[in-house]
């Protein structure tokens, strides 16, 4: 694993994170925001794997699995909220639920 590769991997990770963040901020659809969040999570996860490979440490892959679990639970929660909002209030725009109440 060359330092160059590492750098390239970190740049990619940063890019993924930035794309996700960008998507989170400009999209108003809740589903898209959840997807953007998933993308954001992949960035740090890639960075963990790359850093683990670079240092020869299995902790990087461990952390990756941790991030996967986190992402899974987060998606589950986010989709549940999305479905709830959609079913009861017919809402898919996150800006319209800014008051957290009717």
């Amino acid at each position: 694993m060359t330092p160059l590769f590492l750098t390239a991997a970190l740049v990619l990770a940063t890019g993924l994170f930035a794309v996700g963040l960008f998507g989170l901020m400009i999209r108003r659809g809740i589903l898209f925001q959840i997807i953007a969040l998933e993308i954001m999570l992949t960035g740090p996860a890639l960075a963990f794997v790359a850093a683990g490979a670079h240092h020869g440490d299995p902790g990087g892959q461990g952390m990756f699995i941790f991030v996967l679990v986190l992402a899974a639970s987060e998606v589950a929660l986010g989709l549940a909220l999305y479905l709830r909002l959609g079913r009861h209030a017919d809402v898919s725009d996150s800006d319209t639920v800014n008051l957290l109440r009717r």
Binding site: L21, M25, R27, Q33, S94, D95, N98, L100
Partner: protein, 634 residues
């Protein structure tokens, strides 16, 4: 127990009757009221007559102590006293009181307002007060009786409670006599301070022993008190208006009690009065002037009761004249004689005029001889005594004694004698006017007689006017003095006076030209209008003052009391109100409201939009990273 203990019992029955009728809460029927009243009025006479008899036989000088009060250094020893003066006057008062109240039993039953209970309660209290005053051995009991009489006279004059005139007359009587009472109270209290005791036996020597100025003042105050109560000039105005009360009230008020009380007061304190010659001269002058004035005013009256009222003023003027001349014993003899004939006149006139449906005009006497012979003849007897028909009537003897004492009192006395003689002539004139009117026949008059309660007192008193005639000289001697005797010519002049008056009365009654003149003399009839003077000098300024002080003239009500209120209001306006909006408080309040406004702005950050928060978190983390990077820079 001394026989003087009975003195305490004299006013008790009348007082008891008052308490039962006036203040007792129990209900009584008409007969019970009359019985109680009669018992209360006659029992004092029953007790007093033996006492008088005892006095004639034994030593007539006794004190019955009631109880002693200790007021600091002084001892107020209340007592009743029996001496010739109080015995004589006491007997007179009890007899007259019994006669008048007995007479009232029938008379008042026929009156418009048959509130017998109130009437008899007050009459009995009146009698009890007079007896207290007469028998008093000390100034407190004396003043008690004196003042209670004033109160009773108010209620009795205003007996016809629905008549505004009667109430006004009662108030007038009470206020004027109260002025006199204030003078008397001042005199008695000054004497009390001199003597340190209230016993009359101590007061008189202490008063004599004091310095000239103080003695003169005390004597003058006593005279003023007596003048007010006795309706002498210039206090006489209340008495004619007091005729608004029922006739028996006038009979009691004018004969033996209230009005004559002034004369009794001066006779009682005569030793003290005699030490101040100036006051004595004033007393005599006032007496003579009032005698003439009263007689003149009486001549012009058209109303029997008012005529008799002015007659009382005039007759008491005679008494004051005698006292001023240093002959109080003669004055008391006249007091007794006057009490009998004046109550007789009122009672018989009341009986005659009641038949004439309440009007008390002299015209109501017309035909009285035929219509009501008993009362008319009794009235004639009274008028004869009032005029002083010689030798047979008591009036002649006592009046002659007064004229005699004036004649014998030096050059000034002769002037007074002249005044008194002209008063005597006029007395004859007014006394016989109603009598002569009564002779005028009226068509269709029926002869009637009153009941026993009406006739018995009248006949008793009519007999008394003649029976007292030979007793005048013994009375004066009983009082330890002698009747003065002037030259025979002077006595003859005095004897002729009533007949001259009778001639005048004839002229006034039967000569239309003169009687018309009499009817037109309004000024004299209203007592030379001193009432009007009082109205202007005292009443109107007082009313104006009251109106002004109570804010009825656009002024501030109760100005003195409003003063602190206005001060407080000014204080509020000047100091409290400008500081009411506390500047410091406003600064704090401004700070608070600014903070509230700042929060309002700041909360816009909390948009609730997920995207905004994501941006904020991102920017924040970025800044933190930058900060971390910057601080670890080497």
């Amino acid at each position: 127990m001394s026989p003087f203990f009975a003195l305490l019992l004299v006013p008790m029955p009348a007082m008891g009757a008052f308490l039962l009728l006036g203040l007792g809460p129990a209900e009584f029927n008409r007969r019970a009221i009359q019985t109680i009243a009669l018992a209360g009025a006659t029992l004092p006479a029953v007790v007093m007559l033996p006492l008088g008899a005892y006095c004639l036989m034994g030593t007539c000088d006794g004190i019955q102590p009631i109880f002693d009060l200790e007021v600091g250094p002084a001892v107020v020893a209340l007592a009743l006293k029996l001496d010739p003066l109080s015995a004589l006057v006491g007997v007179t008062v009890t007899i007259i009181g019994a006669c008048v109240i007995g007479y009232s039993i029938d008379y008042m039953a026929k009156s418009e307002i048959a509130d017998l209970r109130r009437y008899f309660a007050l009459m009995n209290l009146f009698l009890a007060s007079m007896l207290c005053m007469v028998l008093a051995g000390d100034s407190i009991i004396f003043f008690l009786g004196w003042e209670l009489m004033g109160l009773c006279s108010f209620f009795l004059i205003a007996y016809h409670v629905t008549s505004a005139r009667a109430i006004a007359a009662g108030r007038k009587a009470f206020v004027i006599t109260r002025v006199a009472d204030a003078f008397l109270l001042a005199a008695l209290l000054l004497l009390f301070l001199e003597a340190g005791s209230v016993r009359l036996d101590d007061l008189i020597p202490a008063g004599i022993a004091t310095d000239d100025v103080r003695r003169g003042l005390i004597a003058a105050l006593l005279l003023a008190g007596a003048m007010g109560k006795s309706a002498q000039l210039p206090f006489h105005t209340w008495l004619p208006s007091a005729m608004a009360g029922p006739t028996p009230v006038s009979a009691l008020l004018h004969s033996a009690t209230m009005v004559a009380a002034g004369a009794y007061l001066l006779a009682r304190l005569a030793p003290l009065m005699e030490t101040v010659p100036l006051v004595m001269a004033v007393t005599a002058t006032v007496g003579a002037a009032t005698a003439l004035f009263g007689a003149t005013a009486a001549v012009f009256q058209l109303d029997v009761k008012r005529l008799l009222a002015y007659s009382s003023i005039s007759q008491i003027g005679f008494m004051l004249l005698a006292i001023g001349l240093g002959q109080p014993e003669v004055a008391i003899a006249h007091f007794v004689v006057h009490a009998i004939f004046k109550s007789l006149l009122f009672l018989s006139a009341g009986d005659i005029t009641q038949i004439a449906r309440g009007t008390t005009d002299i015209a109501a006497m017309r035909g009285a001889l035929r219509a009501r012979p008993v009362a008319y003849l009794a009235f004639v007897a009274g008028a004869a005594s009032l005029a002083g028909i010689p030798f047979v009537t008591g009036g002649w003897f006592s009046k002659e004694a007064i004229l005699a004492s004036a004649w014998l009192a030096g050059p000034f006395g002769i002037v007074l004698w002249g005044v008194a003689l002209s008063a005597a002539v006029l007395t004859g004139a007014y006394a016989f006017r109603p009598v002569l009117v009564g002779l005028i026949p009226v068509k269709g008059a029926r002869m009637t007689f009153g009941g026993v309660f009406t006739n018995l007192p009248i006949l008793l008193l009519a007999a008394g006017t003649f029976a007292i005639a030979p007793l005048v000289t013994p009375m004066v001697e009983f009082l330890d003095a002698t009747v003065p005797h002037p030259p025979l010519a002077v006595e003859l002049v005095g004897a002729v006076a009533p007949f001259v008056g009778l001639a005048l009365a004839f002229a006034m009654t039967f000569m239309p030209r003169i009687s018309r003149r009499v009817a037109q003399a309004r000024r004299m009839r209203s007592g030379i209008r001193i009432d009007g003077v009082y109205q202007i000098v005292f009443v109107q300024p007082f009313v104006a003052l009251v109106r002004w002080l109570t804010g009825q003239r656009g002024s501030i009500a109760d100005p003195v009391g409003t003063l602190p209120v206005m001060g407080a209001q000014w204080l509020v306006g000047a100091i409290v109100r400008p500081l009411a909006h506390d500047p410091l408080d406003r600064a704090w309040a401004g700070f608070a409201s600014a903070t509230v406004r700042a929060w309002g702005v700041a909360r816009h950050v909390q948009s609730g939009r997920v995207r905004d928060y994501a941006l904020a978190i991102a920017v924040g983390v970025a800044l933190l990273l930058l900060l971390g990077w910057g601080t670890t820079w080497r």
